[in-house]
Protein backbone atom coordinates (compact mmCIF):
# COMPACT_ATOMS: atom_id res chain seq x y z
CA UNK A 1 0.00 0.00 0.00
CA UNK A 2 1.71 3.18 -1.12
CA UNK A 3 1.89 5.88 1.47
CA UNK A 4 0.44 8.77 -0.50
CA UNK A 5 1.95 12.22 -0.47
CA UNK A 6 0.62 14.02 2.61
CA UNK A 7 -2.78 15.65 2.08
CA UNK A 8 -3.38 19.35 1.56
CA UNK A 9 -3.38 21.24 4.85
CA UNK A 10 -6.24 23.45 5.93
CA UNK A 11 -4.88 26.91 6.79
CA UNK A 12 -5.73 26.43 10.43
CA UNK A 13 -3.25 23.57 10.40
CA UNK A 14 -0.35 26.01 10.12
CA UNK A 15 1.96 24.90 12.92
CA UNK A 16 2.15 28.24 14.72
CA UNK A 17 3.03 26.61 18.04
CA UNK A 18 6.15 25.08 16.51
CA UNK A 19 7.67 28.48 15.71
CA UNK A 20 10.34 29.94 17.97
CA UNK A 21 12.36 33.16 18.02
CA UNK A 22 15.08 32.98 15.42
CA UNK A 23 12.99 31.03 12.91
CA UNK A 24 12.69 32.19 9.31
CA UNK A 25 10.06 30.08 7.62
CA UNK A 26 8.75 29.90 4.08
CA UNK A 27 5.00 29.27 3.99
CA UNK A 28 3.70 28.04 0.65
CA UNK A 29 0.02 28.75 0.58
CA UNK A 30 -3.06 28.90 -1.59
CA UNK A 31 -4.65 32.27 -1.00
CA UNK A 32 -7.99 30.91 -2.12
CA UNK A 33 -8.10 28.69 0.93
CA UNK A 34 -8.10 31.76 3.13
CA UNK A 35 -5.07 32.31 5.28
CA UNK A 36 -6.33 35.31 7.19
CA UNK A 37 -7.41 33.29 10.25
CA UNK A 38 -3.87 31.96 10.51
CA UNK A 39 -2.41 35.43 10.25
CA UNK A 40 -4.80 36.55 12.97
CA UNK A 41 -3.65 33.71 15.24
CA UNK A 42 -0.02 34.58 14.48
CA UNK A 43 -0.65 38.19 15.42
CA UNK A 44 -2.54 37.36 18.60
CA UNK A 45 0.17 34.92 19.71
CA UNK A 46 2.81 37.62 19.24
CA UNK A 47 0.82 40.21 21.15
CA UNK A 48 0.28 37.74 24.00
CA UNK A 49 4.02 37.01 24.09
CA UNK A 50 4.89 40.70 24.40
CA UNK A 51 6.54 40.71 21.02
CA UNK A 52 6.19 43.48 18.52
CA UNK A 53 4.21 42.19 15.58
CA UNK A 54 4.72 43.30 12.02
CA UNK A 55 2.25 42.20 9.42
CA UNK A 56 2.58 42.96 5.71
CA UNK A 57 0.02 41.50 3.42
CA UNK A 58 -1.28 42.10 -0.03
CA UNK A 59 -3.08 43.50 -1.76
CA UNK A 60 -4.77 45.39 1.08
CA UNK A 61 -4.41 45.58 4.83
CA UNK A 62 -6.33 42.63 6.28
CA UNK A 63 -9.16 42.91 8.71
CA UNK A 64 -7.81 40.66 11.40
CA UNK A 65 -10.39 41.27 14.05
CA UNK A 66 -12.82 38.39 14.43
CA UNK A 67 -14.80 39.19 17.49
CA UNK A 68 -15.55 42.42 19.25
CA UNK A 69 -12.85 41.56 21.80
CA UNK A 70 -10.35 41.02 19.03
CA UNK A 71 -11.26 44.28 17.36
CA UNK A 72 -10.56 46.21 20.53
CA UNK A 73 -7.34 44.36 21.25
CA UNK A 74 -6.08 44.80 17.71
CA UNK A 75 -6.95 48.47 17.74
CA UNK A 76 -5.16 48.99 21.04
CA UNK A 77 -2.07 47.20 19.77
CA UNK A 78 -1.98 49.35 16.66
CA UNK A 79 -2.36 52.49 18.75
CA UNK A 80 0.39 51.48 21.16
CA UNK A 81 2.75 50.53 18.36
CA UNK A 82 2.92 46.87 19.34
CA UNK A 83 1.22 45.92 16.10
CA UNK A 84 2.24 47.41 12.81
CA UNK A 85 0.16 46.46 9.81
CA UNK A 86 0.67 47.54 6.26
CA UNK A 87 0.62 46.37 2.70
CA UNK A 88 3.53 44.43 1.29
CA UNK A 89 4.01 47.25 -1.16
CA UNK A 90 4.47 49.70 1.76
CA UNK A 91 7.34 47.64 3.11
CA UNK A 92 9.06 46.28 0.03
CA UNK A 93 8.33 48.73 -2.72
CA UNK A 94 8.39 52.21 -1.22
CA UNK A 95 8.50 54.54 -4.17
CA UNK A 96 7.78 51.63 -6.45
CA UNK A 97 11.31 50.21 -6.24
CA UNK A 98 12.63 47.17 -4.40
CA UNK A 99 15.91 47.91 -2.62
CA UNK A 100 16.90 44.80 -0.66
CA UNK A 101 19.56 46.51 1.41
CA UNK A 102 17.15 49.26 2.39
CA UNK A 103 14.49 46.74 3.40
CA UNK A 104 16.97 44.77 5.51
CA UNK A 105 18.17 48.02 7.05
CA UNK A 106 14.61 49.01 7.89
CA UNK A 107 13.90 45.65 9.51
CA UNK A 108 17.12 45.87 11.51
CA UNK A 109 16.24 49.29 12.85
CA UNK A 110 12.77 48.06 13.63
CA UNK A 111 14.10 45.12 15.66
CA UNK A 112 16.56 47.37 17.51
CA UNK A 113 13.74 49.77 18.30
CA UNK A 114 11.41 47.04 19.54
CA UNK A 115 14.02 45.63 21.93
CA UNK A 116 14.82 49.13 23.18
CA UNK A 117 11.11 49.74 23.77
CA UNK A 118 10.98 46.67 25.99
CA UNK A 119 9.32 44.16 23.67
CA UNK A 120 10.49 40.55 23.73
CA UNK A 121 11.55 40.52 20.15
CA UNK A 122 9.72 40.96 16.88
CA UNK A 123 7.62 38.63 14.79
CA UNK A 124 6.98 39.37 11.16
CA UNK A 125 4.57 37.84 8.71
CA UNK A 126 4.91 39.06 5.15
CA UNK A 127 3.11 38.21 1.95
CA UNK A 128 5.74 37.98 -0.80
CA UNK A 129 3.16 37.86 -3.57
CA UNK A 130 4.27 41.30 -4.74
CA UNK A 131 7.34 39.58 -6.21
CA UNK A 132 5.36 37.11 -8.25
CA UNK A 133 4.67 37.53 -11.93
CA UNK A 134 7.84 39.51 -12.48
CA UNK A 135 9.88 36.52 -11.40
CA UNK A 136 11.53 35.44 -8.18
CA UNK A 137 14.96 36.83 -9.13
CA UNK A 138 13.98 40.08 -7.45
CA UNK A 139 13.78 38.46 -4.05
CA UNK A 140 15.93 35.32 -4.11
CA UNK A 141 19.07 37.13 -3.01
CA UNK A 142 17.08 39.15 -0.50
CA UNK A 143 15.56 36.08 1.17
CA UNK A 144 19.00 34.51 1.46
CA UNK A 145 20.51 37.69 2.92
CA UNK A 146 17.70 38.33 5.38
CA UNK A 147 18.59 35.08 7.20
CA UNK A 148 21.20 37.20 8.96
CA UNK A 149 18.45 39.12 10.77
CA UNK A 150 17.26 36.01 12.55
CA UNK A 151 20.60 34.67 13.76
CA UNK A 152 20.49 36.39 17.14
CA UNK A 153 17.04 35.13 18.01
CA UNK A 154 15.48 38.55 18.36
CA UNK A 155 13.11 38.08 15.44
CA UNK A 156 10.85 35.43 13.96
CA UNK A 157 9.68 35.65 10.34
CA UNK A 158 7.14 33.90 8.17
CA UNK A 159 7.15 34.64 4.43
CA UNK A 160 4.00 33.76 2.49
CA UNK A 161 4.35 32.50 -1.06
CA UNK A 162 1.07 32.04 -2.88
CA UNK A 163 1.47 29.02 -5.16
CA UNK A 164 -0.58 30.62 -7.87
CA UNK A 165 1.77 33.57 -8.23
CA UNK A 166 5.06 31.69 -8.49
CA UNK A 167 6.31 28.91 -10.74
CA UNK A 168 7.52 25.61 -9.30
CA UNK A 169 11.19 26.50 -9.77
CA UNK A 170 10.63 29.83 -8.01
CA UNK A 171 8.92 28.15 -5.07
CA UNK A 172 11.81 25.69 -4.83
CA UNK A 173 14.27 28.59 -4.76
CA UNK A 174 12.22 30.48 -2.17
CA UNK A 175 12.01 27.41 0.02
CA UNK A 176 15.71 26.75 -0.33
CA UNK A 177 16.48 30.25 0.96
CA UNK A 178 14.68 29.51 4.24
CA UNK A 179 15.92 27.10 6.93
CA UNK A 180 12.41 25.67 7.17
CA UNK A 181 9.35 25.50 4.94
CA UNK A 182 5.68 24.86 5.63
CA UNK A 183 4.37 23.39 2.41
CA UNK A 184 0.89 22.70 1.20
CA UNK A 185 1.23 19.14 2.53
CA UNK A 186 0.07 18.46 6.05
CA UNK A 187 2.97 17.16 8.13
CA UNK A 188 2.01 16.13 11.67
CA UNK A 189 4.54 17.30 14.23
CA UNK A 190 6.18 19.77 11.85
CA UNK A 191 9.06 21.86 13.09
CA UNK A 192 11.43 23.95 11.00
CA UNK A 193 13.88 21.56 9.40
CA UNK A 194 16.88 23.63 10.47
CA UNK A 195 17.52 26.19 13.16
CA UNK A 196 20.54 28.46 12.92
CA UNK A 197 21.67 30.62 15.81
CA UNK A 198 24.79 32.70 16.20
CA UNK A 199 26.20 32.01 19.65
CA UNK A 200 29.36 34.08 19.35
CA UNK A 201 31.27 36.18 16.86
CA UNK A 202 32.77 33.05 15.39
CA UNK A 203 30.29 30.49 16.69
CA UNK A 204 27.23 29.13 14.93
CA UNK A 205 24.77 26.63 16.32
CA UNK A 206 23.02 24.37 13.79
CA UNK A 207 20.23 22.05 14.86
CA UNK A 208 17.91 19.84 12.85
CA UNK A 209 18.68 18.72 9.31
CA UNK A 210 20.40 20.29 6.33
CA UNK A 211 19.75 19.09 2.78
CA UNK A 212 19.04 20.46 -0.66
CA UNK A 213 15.73 21.94 0.45
CA UNK A 214 17.36 24.53 2.74
CA UNK A 215 20.80 24.67 1.12
CA UNK A 216 20.94 28.40 0.32
CA UNK A 217 19.83 29.42 3.80
CA UNK A 218 22.70 27.48 5.36
CA UNK A 219 25.17 28.65 2.72
CA UNK A 220 24.37 32.30 3.46
CA UNK A 221 24.55 31.94 7.21
CA UNK A 222 27.83 30.00 7.06
CA UNK A 223 29.31 32.51 4.68
CA UNK A 224 28.33 35.40 6.93
CA UNK A 225 29.87 33.94 10.07
CA UNK A 226 33.03 32.86 8.23
CA UNK A 227 33.47 36.32 6.73
CA UNK A 228 33.19 37.99 10.13
CA UNK A 229 35.32 35.54 12.08
CA UNK A 230 38.92 36.38 12.84
CA UNK A 231 40.03 32.80 13.34
CA UNK A 232 38.48 29.38 13.74
CA UNK A 233 34.73 29.14 13.26
CA UNK A 234 33.09 26.84 15.80
CA UNK A 235 30.05 24.95 14.58
CA UNK A 236 27.95 23.65 17.46
CA UNK A 237 26.32 20.66 15.85
CA UNK A 238 25.30 18.49 18.79
CA UNK A 239 21.67 18.74 17.65
CA UNK A 240 22.34 18.53 13.93
CA UNK A 241 21.05 15.08 13.06
CA UNK A 242 21.48 14.98 9.29
CA UNK A 243 23.56 16.54 6.54
CA UNK A 244 23.74 15.44 2.94
CA UNK A 245 26.74 15.33 0.60
CA UNK A 246 25.95 18.79 -0.78
CA UNK A 247 25.98 20.25 2.74
CA UNK A 248 29.39 18.63 3.30
CA UNK A 249 30.63 20.46 0.21
CA UNK A 250 29.38 23.75 1.72
CA UNK A 251 31.35 22.99 4.88
CA UNK A 252 34.44 22.24 2.82
CA UNK A 253 34.29 25.61 1.10
CA UNK A 254 33.68 27.36 4.42
CA UNK A 255 36.72 25.60 5.89
CA UNK A 256 38.82 26.90 3.03
CA UNK A 257 37.58 30.47 3.49
CA UNK A 258 37.87 30.60 7.29
CA UNK A 259 41.36 31.73 8.19
CA UNK A 260 41.39 29.47 11.25
CA UNK A 261 39.38 26.69 9.70
CA UNK A 262 36.18 25.03 10.90
CA UNK A 263 35.68 23.15 14.17
CA UNK A 264 32.69 20.84 14.47
CA UNK A 265 31.72 20.48 18.12
CA UNK A 266 29.82 17.39 19.32
CA UNK A 267 29.04 16.10 15.83
CA UNK A 268 26.46 13.30 15.76
CA UNK A 269 27.37 9.91 14.24
CA UNK A 270 25.38 10.59 11.07
CA UNK A 271 27.15 13.90 10.51
CA UNK A 272 30.55 12.37 11.29
CA UNK A 273 29.86 9.64 8.76
CA UNK A 274 29.09 12.08 5.94
CA UNK A 275 32.01 14.37 6.81
CA UNK A 276 34.29 11.36 6.82
CA UNK A 277 33.08 9.71 3.61
CA UNK A 278 33.13 12.96 1.63
CA UNK A 279 36.67 13.68 2.76
CA UNK A 280 35.69 16.87 4.57
CA UNK A 281 36.79 15.59 7.97
CA UNK A 282 40.30 15.07 6.62
CA UNK A 283 40.68 18.53 5.10
CA UNK A 284 43.31 20.83 6.55
CA UNK A 285 41.52 23.30 8.75
CA UNK A 286 38.71 20.95 9.74
CA UNK A 287 38.52 19.48 13.22
CA UNK A 288 35.93 17.40 15.02
CA UNK A 289 35.86 17.77 18.79
CA UNK A 290 33.62 17.03 21.71
CA UNK A 291 31.30 14.21 22.62
CA UNK A 292 31.08 11.23 20.30
CA UNK A 293 27.61 9.74 20.79
Amino acid sequence: MTEAAPTEAAPTDFPLDALAPGDHVCWIVDRDTGYLPTIARFVRAGLAACQQVVCFTGPGVPDLAGTTDDRAAVGAAVDSGQLWMGTATDMYLPGGRFDPAAVIGAFTRHIDGAIAAGYRGVRVIADMGWAGGSGYERVSGYEESVNALFLDGRALGVCLYDRRLFGAAELHAASCAHPGTVGPERVPGWTPMLRTRRTGRARLSLSGEADLTNRQALATVLSLVVSEAAGTVQLEVGELTFVDAGTAALFARAARCASGGLAFVDATPAVRQVLSLTGVAALPGVSLTGARR
Binding site: E3, A5, P184, T213, A245, G246, A248, R256, P269, L277
Partner: protein
Protein backbone atom coordinates in the same frame (compact mmCIF):
# COMPACT_ATOMS: atom_id res chain seq x y z
CA UNK B 1 53.34 8.06 -21.60
CA UNK B 2 51.20 6.13 -19.19
CA UNK B 3 50.96 2.38 -19.00
CA UNK B 4 47.83 0.70 -17.83
CA UNK B 5 47.81 -3.07 -17.46
CA UNK B 6 44.74 -4.99 -16.33
CA UNK B 7 45.33 -8.76 -16.44
CA UNK B 8 43.06 -11.50 -15.16
CA UNK B 9 45.14 -14.13 -13.34
CA UNK B 10 43.72 -17.65 -13.70
CA UNK B 11 44.69 -19.95 -10.82
CA UNK B 12 43.57 -23.43 -9.81
CA UNK B 13 44.94 -23.79 -6.27
CA UNK B 14 46.89 -21.92 -3.59
CA UNK B 15 50.24 -22.89 -5.12
CA UNK B 16 49.29 -21.32 -8.45
CA UNK B 17 47.76 -18.37 -6.60
CA UNK B 18 51.01 -17.52 -4.92
CA UNK B 19 53.03 -18.30 -8.06
CA UNK B 20 50.96 -15.71 -9.89
CA UNK B 21 50.76 -13.01 -7.21
CA UNK B 22 54.01 -12.98 -5.24
CA UNK B 23 56.33 -12.22 -8.19
CA UNK B 24 53.92 -9.46 -9.25
CA UNK B 25 54.16 -7.96 -5.77
CA UNK B 26 57.95 -8.39 -5.61
CA UNK B 27 58.31 -6.73 -9.00
CA UNK B 28 56.49 -3.71 -7.68
CA UNK B 29 58.52 -3.54 -4.48
CA UNK B 30 61.78 -3.93 -6.39
CA UNK B 31 60.73 -1.11 -8.70
CA UNK B 32 59.81 1.19 -5.82
CA UNK B 33 56.14 1.19 -6.79
CA UNK B 34 53.40 1.50 -4.18
CA UNK B 35 51.74 -1.92 -3.89
CA UNK B 36 48.28 -2.83 -2.57
CA UNK B 37 46.64 -6.21 -2.24
CA UNK B 38 42.84 -6.19 -1.91
CA UNK B 39 41.61 -9.79 -1.92
CA UNK B 40 39.17 -11.85 0.19
CA UNK B 41 40.28 -12.73 3.72
CA UNK B 42 41.59 -16.26 3.20
CA UNK B 43 43.68 -15.29 0.18
CA UNK B 44 44.86 -12.21 2.02
CA UNK B 45 46.21 -14.44 4.80
CA UNK B 46 47.90 -16.64 2.20
CA UNK B 47 49.68 -13.69 0.63
CA UNK B 48 50.57 -12.08 3.95
CA UNK B 49 52.25 -15.30 5.16
CA UNK B 50 54.10 -15.83 1.90
CA UNK B 51 55.45 -12.27 1.93
CA UNK B 52 56.98 -12.59 5.35
CA UNK B 53 58.80 -9.43 6.34
CA UNK B 54 57.94 -7.81 3.01
CA UNK B 55 54.29 -7.71 4.07
CA UNK B 56 54.88 -4.48 5.93
CA UNK B 57 55.74 -2.73 2.69
CA UNK B 58 52.43 -3.68 1.09
CA UNK B 59 49.00 -2.22 1.79
CA UNK B 60 46.79 -5.20 2.64
CA UNK B 61 43.00 -4.90 2.51
CA UNK B 62 40.25 -7.48 2.85
CA UNK B 63 38.24 -7.17 -0.38
CA UNK B 64 35.42 -9.03 1.32
CA UNK B 65 34.92 -5.91 3.43
CA UNK B 66 36.35 -3.05 1.34
CA UNK B 67 34.76 -4.37 -1.83
CA UNK B 68 31.67 -6.07 -0.51
CA UNK B 69 29.77 -3.64 -2.70
CA UNK B 70 31.59 -3.85 -6.05
CA UNK B 71 30.42 -0.33 -6.90
CA UNK B 72 32.82 1.20 -4.41
CA UNK B 73 35.95 -0.67 -5.43
CA UNK B 74 36.95 1.79 -8.15
CA UNK B 75 36.52 4.97 -6.06
CA UNK B 76 37.26 3.79 -2.54
CA UNK B 77 39.87 1.07 -3.13
CA UNK B 78 41.60 1.60 -6.49
CA UNK B 79 41.40 5.33 -7.26
CA UNK B 80 41.87 6.19 -3.60
CA UNK B 81 45.16 4.26 -3.60
CA UNK B 82 46.25 5.89 -6.85
CA UNK B 83 45.44 9.33 -5.43
CA UNK B 84 47.55 8.67 -2.34
CA UNK B 85 50.48 8.09 -4.68
CA UNK B 86 49.67 10.59 -7.39
CA UNK B 87 52.37 10.79 -10.01
CA UNK B 88 53.68 7.28 -9.38
CA UNK B 89 52.73 4.07 -11.14
CA UNK B 90 50.81 1.86 -8.70
CA UNK B 91 50.54 -1.88 -8.57
CA UNK B 92 47.40 -3.53 -7.22
CA UNK B 93 46.06 -7.03 -6.81
CA UNK B 94 42.28 -6.77 -6.70
CA UNK B 95 40.09 -9.86 -6.42
CA UNK B 96 36.42 -8.82 -6.66
CA UNK B 97 35.01 -12.17 -7.80
CA UNK B 98 35.00 -15.15 -5.43
CA UNK B 99 32.96 -18.33 -5.17
CA UNK B 100 30.62 -16.98 -2.51
CA UNK B 101 29.36 -13.99 -4.54
CA UNK B 102 25.57 -14.10 -4.80
CA UNK B 103 23.51 -14.00 -7.97
CA UNK B 104 22.57 -10.44 -7.08
CA UNK B 105 26.18 -9.39 -6.51
CA UNK B 106 27.83 -11.00 -9.51
CA UNK B 107 26.56 -8.68 -12.29
CA UNK B 108 27.84 -5.72 -10.25
CA UNK B 109 31.24 -7.45 -10.00
CA UNK B 110 31.44 -7.95 -13.77
CA UNK B 111 30.37 -4.36 -14.46
CA UNK B 112 33.03 -3.18 -12.05
CA UNK B 113 35.71 -5.23 -13.84
CA UNK B 114 34.70 -3.82 -17.22
CA UNK B 115 34.65 -0.25 -15.93
CA UNK B 116 38.16 -0.48 -14.46
CA UNK B 117 39.32 -0.32 -18.08
CA UNK B 118 37.49 2.99 -18.53
CA UNK B 119 38.40 4.52 -15.18
CA UNK B 120 42.12 3.77 -15.52
CA UNK B 121 42.57 4.37 -19.23
CA UNK B 122 45.06 7.23 -18.96
CA UNK B 123 46.73 6.10 -15.77
CA UNK B 124 49.98 4.50 -14.78
CA UNK B 125 48.80 1.38 -13.04
CA UNK B 126 48.90 -2.39 -13.07
CA UNK B 127 45.78 -4.02 -11.63
CA UNK B 128 45.91 -7.81 -11.45
CA UNK B 129 42.61 -9.64 -10.86
CA UNK B 130 42.82 -13.28 -9.70
CA UNK B 131 40.11 -15.77 -10.78
CA UNK B 132 39.80 -19.21 -9.14
CA UNK B 133 39.31 -21.64 -12.03
CA UNK B 134 38.59 -24.59 -9.73
CA UNK B 135 35.67 -23.02 -7.88
CA UNK B 136 34.14 -20.28 -10.00
CA UNK B 137 31.18 -20.71 -12.34
CA UNK B 138 32.53 -21.27 -15.89
CA UNK B 139 30.34 -18.43 -17.13
CA UNK B 140 32.08 -16.08 -14.67
CA UNK B 141 35.45 -17.28 -15.97
CA UNK B 142 34.34 -16.65 -19.54
CA UNK B 143 33.26 -13.13 -18.53
CA UNK B 144 36.79 -12.48 -17.26
CA UNK B 145 37.95 -12.81 -20.87
CA UNK B 146 35.58 -9.98 -21.81
CA UNK B 147 36.55 -7.65 -19.00
CA UNK B 148 40.34 -8.04 -19.15
CA UNK B 149 42.53 -7.15 -22.15
CA UNK B 150 45.14 -9.72 -21.14
CA UNK B 151 45.01 -13.12 -19.48
CA UNK B 152 47.76 -14.51 -17.26
CA UNK B 153 48.52 -17.77 -15.58
CA UNK B 154 51.65 -18.31 -13.47
CA UNK B 155 53.42 -19.48 -16.62
CA UNK B 156 51.73 -17.85 -19.60
CA UNK B 157 50.39 -14.50 -20.82
CA UNK B 158 48.24 -13.80 -23.85
CA UNK B 159 45.88 -11.17 -25.19
CA UNK B 160 42.26 -12.00 -24.51
CA UNK B 161 40.46 -12.69 -27.79
CA UNK B 162 37.16 -11.63 -26.21
CA UNK B 163 38.08 -8.28 -24.68
CA UNK B 164 35.98 -5.45 -26.04
CA UNK B 165 34.66 -1.95 -25.35
CA UNK B 166 34.34 -1.59 -21.56
CA UNK B 167 31.15 0.47 -21.73
CA UNK B 168 29.47 -2.10 -23.94
CA UNK B 169 30.53 -4.95 -21.69
CA UNK B 170 29.39 -3.10 -18.56
CA UNK B 171 26.05 -2.37 -20.21
CA UNK B 172 25.62 -6.05 -21.01
CA UNK B 173 25.48 -6.77 -17.27
CA UNK B 174 22.95 -4.05 -16.54
CA UNK B 175 19.71 -5.98 -16.36
CA UNK B 176 16.40 -4.40 -15.38
CA UNK B 177 15.90 -4.73 -11.65
CA UNK B 178 12.19 -5.40 -11.69
CA UNK B 179 9.60 -3.81 -9.47
CA UNK B 180 9.59 -4.07 -5.71
CA UNK B 181 7.52 -6.99 -4.42
CA UNK B 182 3.83 -6.47 -3.68
CA UNK B 183 4.26 -6.35 0.08
CA UNK B 184 6.95 -3.68 0.11
CA UNK B 185 6.40 -0.49 2.10
CA UNK B 186 6.38 2.41 -0.32
CA UNK B 187 6.30 6.20 -0.23
CA UNK B 188 6.31 8.85 -2.90
CA UNK B 189 9.46 10.88 -3.31
CA UNK B 190 8.84 14.61 -3.63
CA UNK B 191 10.93 17.70 -2.96
CA UNK B 192 8.90 18.72 0.07
CA UNK B 193 9.03 15.30 1.69
CA UNK B 194 12.76 14.45 1.88
CA UNK B 195 12.76 14.69 5.68
CA UNK B 196 9.67 12.48 5.89
CA UNK B 197 11.34 9.98 3.56
CA UNK B 198 14.37 9.82 5.83
CA UNK B 199 12.14 9.07 8.81
CA UNK B 200 10.20 6.49 6.77
CA UNK B 201 13.37 4.68 5.74
CA UNK B 202 14.80 4.74 9.27
CA UNK B 203 11.54 3.44 10.77
CA UNK B 204 11.28 0.58 8.26
CA UNK B 205 14.94 -0.27 8.84
CA UNK B 206 14.52 -0.47 12.60
CA UNK B 207 11.39 -2.59 12.21
CA UNK B 208 13.35 -4.97 10.00
CA UNK B 209 16.03 -5.27 12.65
CA UNK B 210 18.85 -3.39 10.92
CA UNK B 211 21.68 -2.88 13.40
CA UNK B 212 21.28 0.55 15.07
CA UNK B 213 24.76 1.58 13.94
CA UNK B 214 23.69 1.12 10.32
CA UNK B 215 20.37 2.93 10.41
CA UNK B 216 22.17 6.25 9.86
CA UNK B 217 24.00 4.73 6.86
CA UNK B 218 20.71 3.59 5.37
CA UNK B 219 19.07 6.98 5.99
CA UNK B 220 21.90 8.87 4.34
CA UNK B 221 21.91 6.55 1.31
CA UNK B 222 18.15 6.70 0.80
CA UNK B 223 18.14 10.48 1.20
CA UNK B 224 20.79 10.88 -1.48
CA UNK B 225 18.84 8.68 -3.90
CA UNK B 226 15.63 10.54 -3.16
CA UNK B 227 17.36 13.89 -3.65
CA UNK B 228 18.70 12.70 -7.02
CA UNK B 229 15.16 11.79 -8.06
CA UNK B 230 13.89 15.20 -7.02
CA UNK B 231 16.64 17.05 -8.87
CA UNK B 232 16.83 14.95 -12.02
CA UNK B 233 13.33 13.55 -12.37
CA UNK B 234 10.82 15.61 -10.38
CA UNK B 235 10.47 12.82 -7.86
CA UNK B 236 9.86 9.09 -7.84
CA UNK B 237 8.95 6.20 -5.55
CA UNK B 238 10.83 4.56 -2.68
CA UNK B 239 10.13 0.94 -1.76
CA UNK B 240 11.57 -0.87 1.26
CA UNK B 241 11.41 -4.61 1.95
CA UNK B 242 13.41 -7.52 3.31
CA UNK B 243 14.66 -10.59 1.48
CA UNK B 244 17.12 -13.35 2.39
CA UNK B 245 18.34 -11.64 5.53
CA UNK B 246 18.85 -8.32 3.81
CA UNK B 247 17.08 -4.97 3.84
CA UNK B 248 16.39 -3.73 0.32
CA UNK B 249 15.49 -0.19 -0.75
CA UNK B 250 14.67 0.73 -4.31
CA UNK B 251 14.12 4.18 -5.78
CA UNK B 252 12.43 4.32 -9.16
CA UNK B 253 12.06 7.47 -11.20
CA UNK B 254 11.77 8.67 -14.78
CA UNK B 255 15.28 10.11 -14.92
CA UNK B 256 18.27 8.80 -16.82
CA UNK B 257 21.77 8.24 -15.46
CA UNK B 258 23.79 8.47 -18.64
CA UNK B 259 27.27 8.41 -17.13
CA UNK B 260 28.47 4.80 -16.92
CA UNK B 261 30.95 5.83 -14.22
CA UNK B 262 28.32 7.58 -12.06
CA UNK B 263 29.09 6.97 -8.41
CA UNK B 264 32.53 5.58 -9.15
CA UNK B 265 34.74 8.63 -9.56
CA UNK B 266 35.78 10.51 -6.42
CA UNK B 267 34.85 14.20 -6.24
CA UNK B 268 37.10 16.64 -4.38
CA UNK B 269 35.64 17.61 -1.01
CA UNK B 270 35.05 21.27 -1.81
CA UNK B 271 34.15 21.06 -5.46
CA UNK B 272 31.00 23.01 -6.21
CA UNK B 273 29.53 20.45 -8.56
CA UNK B 274 27.34 17.61 -7.39
CA UNK B 275 27.87 13.96 -8.20
CA UNK B 276 28.63 12.86 -4.68
CA UNK B 277 25.31 11.26 -3.86
CA UNK B 278 25.90 7.96 -5.65
CA UNK B 279 29.47 7.84 -4.33
CA UNK B 280 28.13 8.00 -0.78
CA UNK B 281 25.51 5.39 -1.59
CA UNK B 282 28.19 3.02 -2.92
CA UNK B 283 30.28 3.50 0.20
CA UNK B 284 27.45 3.01 2.68
CA UNK B 285 25.69 -0.08 1.33
CA UNK B 286 26.56 -3.75 1.02
CA UNK B 287 25.42 -3.86 -2.58
CA UNK B 288 24.11 -1.30 -5.05
CA UNK B 289 22.48 -2.29 -8.31
CA UNK B 290 21.43 0.27 -10.91
CA UNK B 291 19.55 0.14 -14.13
CA UNK B 292 18.92 3.23 -16.20
CA UNK B 293 17.68 4.08 -19.65
CA UNK B 294 16.10 7.26 -20.95
CA UNK B 295 12.87 7.68 -19.01
CA UNK B 296 13.44 5.02 -16.37
CA UNK B 297 15.99 4.62 -13.61
CA UNK B 298 16.01 2.17 -10.73
CA UNK B 299 18.59 2.03 -7.98
CA UNK B 300 18.43 -0.80 -5.46
CA UNK B 301 20.34 -0.87 -2.17
CA UNK B 302 21.06 -3.93 -0.08
CA UNK B 303 22.12 -3.89 3.56
CA UNK B 304 22.66 -7.07 5.54
CA UNK B 305 20.49 -7.58 8.59
CA UNK B 306 21.78 -9.08 11.81
Amino acid sequence: MSTFVHPALLYADPVEYLAGTIPFIQGGLDGGEPVMVAVPGDNLDLIRSALGVDAKHVVLRDMGVAGRNPGRIIPAVLLAFAAEHAGKPVRVIGEPVWAGRSAAEYPACAQHEALINAAFRERDAAILCPYDTSRLDPVWLADAYRTHPVMWTPTARWDSPHYTDPYAVAASFAVPLGAAPAGAATIEVRRGTLAAIRRFAADRAREAGLHPDRVDDLTIAVSELAANSVVHADGGTLAVWTEDGQLLCQVDDTGHIDDPLAGRVPVAADEATGGRGLLLVNQLCDLVRMHSRPGATSVRLYLRLG
